[in-house]
């Protein structure tokens, strides 16, 4: 429900990074989204499309890379996936687990096209 704000943060982060890449146009933005990030990728995609329209990022594609929800056990050391939202260790059943992935929400990479490549295309 706050995807519009997140889309604005995304646009700002990408534009900041682009400052050091003059003459480049963004073709795609890769975003890592954890299984338990609490974000709807459809809503984020839609918010991005609307908000980016008036920026140099207009037309860029969002590519979502899903990150599975995993816990590491502090008792037996095994890392296991969280199944049916049960956050106990999948190997020994211990309650002493810590989330090691699945909460990510970050821009990872940008696919850039040089403006000259665009002109020739």
């Amino acid at each position: 429900m706050h995807e519009a704000g997140i889309a604005l943060n995304l646009i700002e982060a990408v534009q900041q990074r682009l400052a050091s890449e003059p003459g480049a146009r963004v073709a795609a933005i890769h975003v890592r989204v954890g299984e338990l990030a609490g974000v709807s990728t459809d809503a984020l995609d839609f918010a991005f499309e609307c908000l980016a329209a008036s920026t140099p990022l207009a037309g860029a594609r969002l590519v979502f890379d899903a990150v599975p929800l995993m816990v590491a056990c502090e008792a037996c050391g095994v890392t296991s996936p969280v199944v049916d939202l049960v956050f106990r260790c999948g190997a020994c059943g211990s309650e002493r687990t810590r989330v090691v992935s699945g909460r990510e929400l970050e821009v990872r990479t940008l696919e850039l096209v040089e403006e000259t490549e665009v002109a020739h295309a």
Partner: protein
């Protein structure tokens, strides 16, 4: 065509201010608790019961988050400490920036404890770290015992889960055992207290839990916890 790295967290702007809030709290030896639940679970009713207990030993300030209006603030003004209203306009949650300047006010005002009542919502507030020491969440009997598995982030986030309206247990199909099991699936080991803000049953335990947390913060005031990834 080429690819470049960015590695930028999309909640980073909020997390940065949350870190500042955490530092402010550590510096002033202030304790802050973020109270969250669905609308109508009894956050304000719980505060009406618990604030007088906390205020007996500390100077307590309250931050009231609501989309519009000041009904909750008007109820809590009676307890005597400072109550600041934040109206979010349309936003469905408080974020770190919204509470930042109010935390400063409360610190200047000599408050040792800040109680933040978030906007009633089980979804968005869970995503926004305010820099608080503890998150307390309320689940009420009338909402049903399946909620932990439907809103896992919120239950993960909680340092204490309070089940309110237990005076209504006999009139509903709510199972305390099923609720406890679901909470502990999502967040193994998190403490759960059953209360009725209407009759007062169990609310003293919530006050005791908070007093213990306030005391342990005062015993180790400079520890700045990392937060997130729960």
């Amino acid at each position: 065509m080429h690819e470049i790295d960015v590695k930028s967290g999309l909640l980073a702007p909020n997390d940065a201010v949350a870190r500042e809030n955490r530092h402010l709290l550590a510096e002033r030896g202030m304790y802050a608790v973020n109270l969250m639940s669905a609308p109508g679970s009894g956050k304000t009713s719980l505060l009406e019961r618990v604030l007088p207990m906390l205020a007996a030993g500390h100077r307590v300030g309250v931050i009231e988050g609501d989309i519009v209006g000041s009904c909750d603030k008007d109820r809590l003004d009676r307890f005597g400490g400072p109550v600041h209203q934040i109206n979010t306009g349309a936003a469905c949650h408080l974020d770190a920036r919204m509470v930042h300047h109010v935390l400063h006010h409360l610190a200047e005002d000599g408050c040792e404890v800040a109680v933040i009542e978030n906007v009633g919502n089980l979804v968005c507030p869970a995503e926004f770290d305010l820099g608080e020491d503890d998150a307390v969440m309320l689940l009420s009997v009338t909402e049903g015992h399946d909620k932990p598995k439907k809103y896992p982030l919120m239950f993960r986030r909680a340092d204490l889960v309070v089940i309110n309206k237990v005076d209504l247990l006999a009139h509903t199909d709510f199972s305390l055992a099923a609720a406890t099991a679901a909470v502990h699936d999502v967040h193994p080991g998190v403490p759960i207290l059953a209360v009725s803000c209407r009759t007062g049953e169990g609310v003293a335990e919530v006050g005791t839990w908070l007093e213990r947390r306030i005391a342990s913060k005062r015993a180790a005031p400079v520890a700045v916890p990392a937060g997130r990834l729960r």
